[in-house]
Structures are given as structure tokens and as C-alpha cells.
Symmetry: D2
Subunit: 289 residues, 4 copies
């Protein structure tokens, strides 16, 4: 459930210093093994001299085997100083969703998950409140309440980490999880925690962004999905969206309109990540959409 059938297509993500011959080397390698490239996207960031590529190739007609392909990729990677990530179709991303009381993002993610939109397995939901238990049950996903209080924050995080490890979690999604998480926790999952912030970053960082937006009198409000980093609201942005507002809209209207935005923006970011479409370069992201 929740995983699109693209049975024989593997995905290769590559990052390395830019130089001649990169494209040829990988294409030649895959061709040599009989793998057909069905999709390829590349980008060169001239600013930092880095090369990025996402290749999807068909394994169904290779005349060697996976081990041989992996060997070949590793050799090319070493030659060019590449960081590579190779994902086989039957190995989906294991996801844990963190939520507090607001349920709209969770609800939306689970609906998409059940309808097969997200190529992942939602292994568990963690919350500091019991409120969303019924939603989790409705989607047949295990739900764990880990209360958080300021004195025993470390204890709560330790419990969460235990669950994450036990479930072999690859990606954490903070779906309006209203707790500040420690630097240590975040650094265990570099570029693997997606947070939704309910403003158009870098505008309105911090608390109550809709109230801030109302005070400032902006004519559009936004939402931002980004990788969590130790510096709050400073992580690499994956996706953003905006919606028009007017003087007729109260703070409550902003919150209502924002909800629609948050769930779409977060869902898009999660989809991009689990389809291996996102690469991080400093504070920016390359999103092969």
C-alpha cells in the first residue's frame, strides 16, 4: 500500500565537483550493462562548481546483475569523487510523521499515502498529544504518544529515537509538530527531517506567523517546507506556496487559507523527497521535478 508500481526502475542520485566526461561516464556504464536510461535530469551550479544528476534506469533487461551494476557505479563514483545514492524500486522510504494537535497536515498526508500518491511506507506517527489517535487508527498506522515537558525533553527525544531506530526510519516529517527539537536530534538526520513552516520564509520566522502577517498587512501569505537544521527556520527550502489575501481577511481567515497551503506544500516536499528528487547544496536545494 502506498507504493506506486514502477517495478524495475532504479534511481541514481549523484553529486560531485563539475568536470568534463561525467555524463558520458555514467551513461556509458549503464549502457554497458544493458540498462536503459528512462529519465535523466542534471544541473550544474556554477556558483559552487558542483554537478548534480538524477538518473532513472530500467533494470529489467540488464545482461549482468545488480551486484555488477553497483560495482560499476562505485568505480565511476570513485574516479570522479561522486557522492551517489542508488535506490531499487522495492525499497521504499520508511517515514515517521510527527504531529501535535493540528491535524490537517497529518490528515492530508495519510489520505495521499492511502491513495498511493506517496512512494513510501508510513511506519509510525509520534505525537506529544493523544488528539490525533483516531486519525492514525483510521489509516491503520501505529500511533505513539510521547509527552514533552521542558524538564525532561531529553528523555522524550530518547524515546522517539528508539522508535525511529527500531522502525528503520529514513525520513521524519514534522507535520505541524509544535516542539523545538534539540540540535543533537536534528543532526542525526541531516537533510532527512522535513518541516512545514506556516509562512513564506524568510518572512515571519518564529512564532505565530499568521498573526505577524496580519499585523504587517501583507497581501499574500505563504507556507514553506524545508529540511530542519539546528538554526530554526534556516534550513534548505524544498517547496513554497502562497495564496492571496485581502483586508477582508481576519487572522482566522489567514489560518484557514494557510491550512490549505500548508498541506499542499508539505505533501509536495515529501513526495519530492521520497522520489529521490531533492539534493542539498549549502542552504539551497536542487529539486528535479
Amino acid at each position: 500500500m502506498g507504493i506506486e508500481g514502477s517495478g524495475s526502475i532504479a534511481t541514481l542520485l549523484v553529486t560531485c565537483p563539475d568536470r568534463k566526461g561525467l555524463v558520458a561516464a555514467l551513461a556509458q556504464l549503464l549502457y554497458g550493462h544493458g540498462a536503459n536510461i528512462v529519465d535523466s535530469d542534471q544541473h550544474t551550479d556554477a556558483d559552487v562548481g558542483q554537478f548534480f544528476q538524477r538518473i532513472r534506469f530500467d533494470l529489467s533487461e540488464i545482461h549482468t546483475d545488480r551486484v555488477a551494476v553497483e560495482h560499476g557505479v562505485a568505480e565511476v563514483a570513485q574516479r570522479f569523487g561522486m557522492t551517489v545514492r542508488l535506490r531499487y524500486p522495492e525499497v521504499p522510504t520508511n517515514v515517521a510523521i510527527f504531529v501535535s494537535r493540528y491535524s490537517h497536515c497529518l490528515d492530508d498526508l495519510l489520505w495521499r499515502y492511502r491513495s498511493g500518491e506517496l512512494r513510501c511506507v508510513v511506519r509510525l506517527i509520534i505525537s506529544n498529544h493523544p488528539d490525533c489517535a483516531e486519525i492514525a487508527r483510521h489509516a491503520s498506522v501505529p500511533f505513539h504518544v510521547i509527552p514533552v515537558n521542558s524538564e525532561a525533553k531529553g528523555e522524550a527525544e530518547a524515546k522517539a529515537l528508539e522508535l525511529l531506530t527500531a522502525n528503520d526510519i529514513d525520513l521524519l516529517v514534522f507535520a505541524r509538530y509544535m516542539q523545538v527539537v534539540s540540535r543533537d536530534f536534528i543532526e542525526r538526520y541531516p537533510s532527512r527531517i522535513i518541516n512545514i513552516h506556516h509562512s513564506f520564509l524568510p518572512a515571519f520566522v518564529g512564532q505565530k506567523p499568521y498573526h505577524q502577517a496580519f499585523e504587517r498587512g501583507v497581501k499574500l501569505i505563504g507556507a514553506t517546507a524545508h529540511y530542519a537544521t539546528a538554526d530554526l527556520d534556516e534550513g534548505p527550502i524544498i517547496e513554497q506556496g502562497v495564496v492571496r489575501i485581502s483586508h477582508r481577511d481576519t487572522v482566522d481567515d489567514l489560518i484557514r487559507k494557510g491550512r490549505d497551503l500548508e498541506r499542499v506544500v508539505l505533501a509536495n516536499a515529501v513526495r519530492m523527497h521520497v522520489e529521490d528528487r531533492v539534493l542539498v547544496v549549502g542552504k539551497r536545494t536542487v529539486v528535479f521535478d
Copy 2:
């Protein structure tokens, strides 16, 4: 040229503390004079307890005269503590455009002006550079170069003020005018200077917002038209727009895409202002569009 013919329609803009009977009083008054209300828009800001209204009414069948209508409006205004602005159709807004070297906003405003989109008269263009002289000439609008250097800023502003006064200017449009103007200058034209800032305020205030946006890795860039106040980039926002960008876009692409945005956002703000659709309430605006 540049003024739509809506020959007999007057516009009344009203601001006052909210209370019962406001709508009835004005409607009754206009009806009493035989004026048909062709359009009416109102808003109550519950936060500050203020009432705002824009009424357009037809003068062609009044059975008194303009003086009598004005008298009546003044009386109602006094009774309810209203600030009112009454504009007759034959009295358009006199506009001065300030520009530096970038011509896209000026070019666009003049094109709209000549095609009759903007209900105003562009009386003159002031620039600290001679670059846009030909564009002004093409549109048959007087062009004045007033060089600005940091030592003699006051002198330059004095010259500009003289021109503005001599031409009876109601509205100043800073169409990418790259000079900081003194507090004194700005306060002479409260809510009557429209500036375009090339970012989605309050994100990326100050210099080189497209470079800032690129550095931060945002996925949308914006433009903001606002009334200039003494606090830079803090004035009440009239209009904002955004456009999607991706990792493929360089700073130059941002600048190019942003240009399209800037000119549309600025033109919309100017159009709203000259059609008497904008009211200011603190740092926010009511825009009856």
C-alpha cells in the same frame, strides 16, 4: 489622454470610527439629491474599530447641484467624525514618476498611461540620470534630470519639490528610483508616494533583494508596491505578487523574472490609487478592488 471616460461618476472615500447608521446616512443623503449609487464597497476593521467606504455615484440626474451635495456630505461627515475625499470625474490625479537607470517600470507605466488604463495625468518624470530621456520623449512627457550626490542631497530634493509644486502633483511613483529620500521629503506626501520594492516584503528588505533571495534558496520571488514612509520598506503594502523560480535560475534569471513582476505589481498599485480604491489604516491598507 490616459483618462477613461466615466463622465458623470463621482467617487467618495470615507473613513471614520464605526457606529450604527453610517451607511444609511450617506445613502439617504445621496438619494435625497437624486444621485444614483452605482457602486459601493465598505469594510469594518474590527481590530481598530474603523469603518471604510468607497461610494461611486452618478451626478447626471441630481436635482440640486454639486455645491449642495458637497454641503450635505460635509454635514454628515461632521456628524459622524468622518474623513472624506470627494473626487469629480474631470479632476484626475496628477502624477510624477521618479526613475533612475532601470527603465522597465517606467516604460510599462507609460505604455499603460498612453493606452488609457490609468485614470491620471503623468505631468513629469524626474530622474537622477539622463538614460530614460528618450522613453519620456516617446511618450511626450516632460523629463527632468536632477543629479543627486550625497553632499548636496537637500538641494536636489528642493529642486524636485519645486517641480512637484509647480505641477500640482498629487501622487509620486518611485519606479525603481534608486535614491534614499529624506524623511522630510516623504512626510510632505503621506500615503502619496508609491514605491516598488523588488522582493516579497518583509522578506529581503534593503539592498540587492534578488541576490539575497538567490542566497537563501527560496522557491518563489516577489515584488511589493507600498506607500513610502520614513522607515524604509516598512510602509503600508498596496499590492504584492510572486513568481516561481527553481534551482536552474541564476541571479540574472531572478532579475529578469522579477522585472515582469515589478511592473505588473507597480502598475496595479498605481491604478488602485488613482481610482481612489486605497485607504490606509496604520501599517495596513484597505484596497477596494
Copy 3:
């Protein structure tokens, strides 16, 4: 549940031939009863010479009573040939949702309903398939399966009508209900059936609009919420939305992207209707948003 508390605010919707004194008459009337107008929106359609107004007024301080207000409204209505609709805050719209197999619009409407976004009561859900029973149960809304087959269509409609009458239904929402309904059925609920069509009408009427859109190679796809009329896909449009697509998108991608659009567009249309913001003028609508 599902109804915003705006305890003492009544809503008056007015349509009539345009003439002088309309605004004054209603404003004066309400003022006379001590009702404060908190919001008013009006529109004159010059093409057809019709006047439209939506007035929200506060009943909490009237010094007469509701009967007297109603009397007064009726008198003014007769004098000016007005069609009026007066709604008190405690009388919400009773809604029936019709659905087939696709659950996304139903799911979304119910989520908004439970979170208090929609000022209505969803009294029942009718479907020609049992698939969505669990979703209905999760939201505690009665779910009725009425199978439809071409021979006994009349019978199925009769059953549905019985349920609608028994539940005093004001508004029918066709949330991707894949059955053609008889002219007779539709004409019982004029401007009271909202349908979502998964294209940007009038483009791609009829079956499989996403397939049609793919074939035609459009760069944007759309969704349209409209009142159902006897002429399929020809009813007055309440709301439309679009989303960008590219050559990379397959028909399946169009369906996925379209789902997000459909649910937002339908929800907006329903919200507008149940807040008495929509008036129909021929094939067009006035939406006071």
C-alpha cells in the same frame, strides 16, 4: 459541529431591477430597527440592469423584533420588486453529499466540515457504491447506498428524493458523483446543486477531461464548480482553479494534480454558497467573496 459561531448576525441577499434609492431604502430600514450593518457588498450588472446586494447586520441591539424586521424587509422588497433571502445565524444550510467511488472530494469536505470551516450541517451522504461507507462513518454522517442502473434510474432518484425531503435538504453537493441525473430531478433544486467538473470549463466538457487535456497538450489543467442545470456542464460557474503541467506529466499525473485542485475548488464553492455569497444571473454568478 461544523457551524461557526457568529451568533447574532443575519444575512440578507437581494436581487432586483436597478433603480435609485435601493441602497438608501434598505440601510434606512435596518437603521430604523436598530440593526448595525456589519458588512455590505453590492453589484450592478449593467448588461441586464439588475442590482445585487448582500447585507450582514447585527440583530443583538435591535429595538423592535425579528417579526418587525421581516415585515419591514418584505415591504421594501415589494416596493422595489426585490427577490430577498433572509437567513438567521442559527439556521444553517442542510447539505447532502452525493459521491461515487472517488473519495478525495468527500474526504476533503468532511474534514473541513468537522474542523468548522463550513457553515452547514452535512445531514447525509448518498452513493451508488458502498466504497465510501467507512469515510462517512469516521465523520459520523449517515451513509445511504442507492445503486443506480440504467433501467431503474427513476426508482433510484425517487429514493434519493425521499431522503432529501425527509432530511430537509437545502443544498446538494455532487462530489465526483458519476451519474447523470434527470432533468426533472435537477429542476427541483434550481441553483441548489453544486457539481465539480474536472476541467476548466468550457474546455473539455463531458467524459474523461484529463485524457482530453493530455491529448490536446495544454499547459494548465483546471477544475470548475458550478450549479447543475439540465444542460450538462453548462450551469453557472461559481469557482475555477488551474494548475500548471508540463510534458513530463502523464495522464496519471494530471489526475493526481487535478485531485488537489478539485477538492479546493469544490470546497470554496460550497463555502461561498452556505455563507449566502452567491447569486445567479442567467449563466453567470455574482460571488461576494
Copy 4:
């Protein structure tokens, strides 16, 4: 003037039946000549089994010469049944703009051209009216009036063709050119005539689309840039845009709002074409943006 300096970058556009080894063959070839691939985009249309690629490569360090590269490309092309188009940086597209009386699209294209946004040379402007002569003069582009009347249509087209041939024109842009052109004329420039239609195709084909849109009561209006084909308004779509409208907008407002859309949509389509980003596949386009 009007051409971005990307001095040593050549662009290769490829279309062919999909099969293994395509990517490798081209990458290997270019690497063999010492050309660095700076950008590459590809697409496989599963429906028709076609492969499309756009490769930009740097010629500055090749250790053979252009003739050798061309030779190599031709060989690979023959082996795989490729249709290829190779453009060197110093050979820009020669453009002719056709216009009638409405000047907004012409004005906008010329402004972009002069500011260096469009990698082309606008060699001439042809019109059936003298109205836009001054705009052409302002941009220093030759302006030719060729009156068209229904009896002598062939004659007018013959004159136009003569000018196009004499000026070695690659691309014709119909910037609101209000004349129906013969099938014969159109077929001389397959996928090389870009037309702007002022609706969201396939909605509102034919005459007066804004009037049609108003009548139908849509909530968004659109504009479509497409290649002209013998079947009116049926050509492959390159770019589309929409803008929101409401019941307040008259037909004149639609025309005004539409103008802003038309010029942006047309300019984007022209930019995509002159940067060799567009490939046609039946009635659809692949746009590598």
C-alpha cells in the same frame, strides 16, 4: 543588440525513436571531442515511443574542430534515426513580427528585445495597418505596411513571403495579427509561426474570446501561445497563462487584464523557441524550461 552573450555554448536538439544507448552515444561523442556538457534535458514520450533531448555544450576547449563535431553528430544521428538541430551561439534566430492595430504585444516584445532578454534578431515588422510605425521606429526595426483585402489576399502574402525570404527569417511571431493566413503560407513555416490567442485554448476558439468568456461567466481568463497550423487554434501549445476575474469585471476589464497575460505568455513562448527549448510531438510540445 538583443543577444545574450553565451559565447562558446552550442545547443543540440534531438528527436528520435526511443531505444537503449542514445544518451551514452551522444555523451561519449561530445566527450571524445573535448566538449563539456553544461546542460542536458531529456524526455521520453511513452505514448509515442519518442525520445527528445536538448544538450548545451561548451565548444571552447574542443581538441578537434566544429566540422569534426558536426560530422560526429551526423554519424550518430544516422545510426539512431535522429532528427537533429545544432545551433552555434553566434547564429541567432531571425524574427519577423506580424501585427495589426493592437500594439501591446509588439511593444512588449520590442522592449524585451532591446533589453537583451530575447536571443534573436528582430529583422522586420509587417503590419496590415500603419498604426504601429512609430513603435517600430522607436526600436529601430524596419516596418512594412502590407494592406490586406479579401480579394487580393494572395498578393499580400506573396509580398510578405518576399520580405521573409530576403531577410532570411526563421521565426514568425503573430503578435495579435488579426488576419487569417492561407494554409499554403502556414505550411511553409512548420512549427516556426508562433501565434497568441487571447483565450485559454481549447476554450473560446475563434472570434472575440473575451466576449465569449464574459457571456459564459468564467472565473478565470487565459491566453495561449501556440504554433500556427492550417487548422485554426488547433496548433501545438507552447505556453498558457490565466488570471482571475470576478463578476465586477466588464468585457473591457477582461480585455485590459487579458493584455497583461497575452504579452507575458507570448514573450515566454518566443523566448523558449529562440533558445531552442521547444520540440513538437503531434499536437503536443516538449518545452525544456
